[in-house]
Symmetry: C2
Subunit: 366 residues, 2 copies
C-alpha cells in the first residue's frame, strides 16, 4: 500500500535526514543518451559501474535502467548491485529521484518534486523530461514508501541538509526564473520548510562556475556533520570560481544554523579548470533541444560532489594533479569513514558527478 | 545481492511450495497488446484491475507495466496495488514470472524457466518474446531473491505442486515437440525434480480443449490441498472436453502421490462451451506472427483457473448460467477461505484466466 499523501512532511512530523546518517541503500540510474554522453554513453556506463561498485561495498545499490538497456546494464554491473527496469530521460538520480524523509519512529516516506530538466523550455538541458518526472514515483513504489508530491519544481542536488533543521541552497538555482518564478524567496523557504521539515534556510549565491544545473549547491558545498561544511575552494584569484567560493565563504561565516550554531567551514580544494576536449566533444551526438557539448567548454568539476555511504565516502577522481590532495583532505574531514576514489571524468563530461548520480535511502523501519 | 546460481533447487534443499501455503504477495502484469486483447486492451485492463483489487484484499499485489503504459496503469489500479515498471511481450505472469522455491529455513529463491511464447516458431503465440523471457529475472531483482536459470523451456502454468513432493503436469504441454524436443519423458521428469524439488510426477494427457498453451494443467486440474485435486469436468458426452476430463480422471484414480497417498478428485463443473463473438473478434488488431482471434472460436474456459490467496480464492466469473454452481463448489472445497468471483471473460478472450495472470511469492524470510 503506497499512497500519495495530500499533507506535507513537516505537518506529519517528517524531515529529511542528513546524508551522513545511516542508509538502507542507494539508488542510481543507467546513462544512455548519446546526445549527452559520448560514444553512445559507453565510457559513462563504465564510470557508473565504478561508482555503483564502490558504493556497494558499503550499502545496497539499485540501478534503474530502461527496458532497452536492461540486459547490457545487468551484464556490466556486478551481482552485488540490483538492477531494476526504470525508464528515464537521463541518469541523474539525485535530481529526479525522491528526497526521502523520516519521522521519530523512523518511518520513511519520499518527496517527489516536480522536475523540468533544470529549467524547462527556458534553459533546461533537454526535452522532453516526462520519464524523469516519473522516476521518483516509481522508486517509491519499488521501495513501498508513501509519497508526497511537492507543488514546486526542485531537484535533490539543489539542497543539502544537516538533519537538524538546516538546509543549504543557492539563489542561482532556487530563485531562478526557470524554476518557480511565481514564488518569492519567502515562499520558496516556506516550501522547503514544509517538504524538508527544516526551520532554517541558508542561502548561498551562485553555484560552481558554468554548472549547467543553475548552480546546484551539491557541487559547491555540503554538510559533513552538524555545524560543519565542506566548501569547494580555489585560491587562484584569476579563476572566476574564486569570487563565487569567496562569496559562499563569507555568507557561511555569517550564517547560523537551526540549532543556533555558527558554522565551521572546511575549504576543499577544487581541481584546476578542466574543459571538454575536442575528441570528447566529437563523441557526443548533438541534437536540437539538448544542451550542446562544444569542445573547450569549461567543466564544473568539484570534489564536493562526493557521496557519503555507510562507513564510506565515494569521491570523484578528476585530475591526477589534485586528486591526492582532495582525497587527503576528505580523509581528515571523515576520519571514521573509508574514502574511496572512483575515476569520474566521464560523469563530469555529462554535466555532474557522483553526488548527482546517487540518491540515498535512509535506514528506517518497514 | 541477487545471484544467478549454477546449482539446482533440489541440490540446495529447495522445493516449490503449494499455492495454498502462505504467500508474501502476488505479481501480475498489465495487458497491453492490441493484437491479442480487443479494443487496445482496455476491457482486459479493467478485468485485470478487478483481479488485482480482489487479490489485494488478501495479500500485497504488484503489477508490472511497460514504461509507455505506466501512468495509465497507476491511474486505474487502486493505491493498494503496487505498480512497477516491467516490460513484457504479453501479460501472463504465471508463465513468464519466476517459480518460487523455499528451503527449510524459508529462504526464498526463484526459478527462471526459458520461455518461448508457448511453442516458439512452431506454434507459439507471438514473436518476439525476448521481453517476456526477462520478466522472471526482473521480478527476482525487485524481490532481492537469488535465481536459478533452468535449462528447459517451461511455464509456471504447466505445473501444479502439492508442496509435499508431487507435481502435476500434462503430456500435451511438457512433451510437446515445440518445447524441449531433445528431452524424453524421463529427462523432463529429471528436470522437474531438480528445479521443483519434487520426487513424483503425475502425468495427465491433454489439457482443456483448444487451450492455446498446449494444454497447461492449471486450466484443467490443481491441488487444493495435499492428496486432493480439483478437476475441470463436464458430464456432456457430446462435448470434446468430456473425453479429456475423463482421461484425466482415470489417470488420477490410478495415481499415487509422493507420500504414497491415493488422490481424492473433486469434479469442478466447467462452463458450457463458450466462444468469441464476432464483435469481440473484431476488436482485436490482427497481426502477422500473432495468433489470430477468429469469431466463433471456442474459448478454453475453466473454473479451475482460480488463484489461491492468503485466506481467499479468487475465481473467474465466466457465464451467469454456471458461475454460481462453480462458486458454491469452490466454497465447499475451501471452507476456510473466502471465495471471491471476478468477471473474467475479457481475460479468457486473451487466452487464459486468473491463475495464468498471477504468480504467488511464498512467505519467507529476508
Amino acid at each position: 500500500m503506497t499512497q500519495t499523501l495530500s499533507t506535507t512532511p513537516a505537518a506529519d512530523g517528517f524531515w529529511m535526514p542528513a546524508e551522513y546518517e545511516p542508509h538502507a541503500g542507494c539508488w542510481m540510474l543507467w546513462p544512455e543518451r548519446a546526445d549527452n554522453w559520448r560514444e553512445a554513453a559507453r565510457p559513462a556506463q563504465f564510470a557508473f559501474v565504478g561508482v555503483a561498485t564502490a558504493i556497494a561495498q558499503f550499502e545496497p545499490v539499485t540501478v534503474g535502467v530502461s527496458a532497452a538497456h536492461y540486459e547490457i546494464a545487468r551484464t556490466f554491473l556486478p551481482p552485488s548491485v540490483r538492477v531494476v527496469e526504470l525508464a528515464h530521460d537521463d541518469s541523474w538520480m539525485r535530481d529526479v529521484g525522491p528526497t526521502f524523509v523520516v519521522n521519530k519512529r523512523r518511518d520513511v516516506r519520499g518527496v517527489d518534486w516536480h522536475f523540468n530538466a533544470w529549467g524547462g523550455l527556458n534553459g533546461g538541458l533537454y526535452f522532453p523530461w516526462d520519464q524523469d518526472d516519473l522516476v521518483a514515483r516509481k522508486v517509491l513504489e519499488v521501495e513501498n514508501r508513501d509519497r508526497y508530491r511537492s507543488a514546486i519544481i526542485n531537484e535533490g542536488g539543489a539542497l543539502h541538509v544537516d538533519g537538524e533543521g538546516t538546509v543549504l541552497v543557492t539563489e542561482e538555482c532556487l530563485l531562478n526564473a526557470n524554476r518557480n518564478p511565481h514564488l518569492n524567496r519567502e515562499q520558496i523557504e516556506e516550501q522547503l520548510r514544509a517538504y524538508l521539515g527544516v526551520s532554517t534556510v541558508i542561502w548561498l549565491g551562485k553555484g560552481v562556475f558554468n554548472d549547467e544545473t543553475d548552480g546546484h549547491v551539491d557541487n559547491l558545498a555540503c554538510f559533513i556533520r552538524p555545524g560543519e561544511i565542506a566548501l569547494g575552494w580555489t585560491d587562484n584569484k584569476r579563476d572566476v570560481q574564486h569570487a563565487i567560493s569567496l562569496d559562499a565563504w563569507e555568507r557561511l561565516q555569517d550564517a547560523v544554523d537551526a540549532r543556533g550554531r555558527k558554522l565551521k567551514v572546511h575549504k576543499l580544494p577544487m581541481p584546476r579548470p578542466l574543459s571538454i576536449s575536442a575528441k570528447e566533444a566529437a563523441g557526443v551526438v548533438s541534437r536540437e533541444g539538448t544542451k550542446a557539448r562544444p569542445a573547450g567548454e569549461r567543466l564544473a568539476g568539484s570534489y564536493v560532489n562526493f557521496y557519503i555511504a555507510n562507513g564510506g565516502v565515494v569521491m570523484p577522481l578528476l585530475d591526477p594533479r589534485t586528486d591526492k590532495e582532495a582525497a587527503a583532505k576528505l580523509k581528515r574531514l571523515f576520519p571514521d569513514r573509508r574514502v574511496v576514489g572512483v575515476p569520474a571524468r566521464e560523469v563530469l563530461l555529462g554535466g555532474g558527478n557522483i553526488h548527482c548520480i546517487t540518491q540515498q535511502v535512509p535506514a528506517g523501519k518497514h
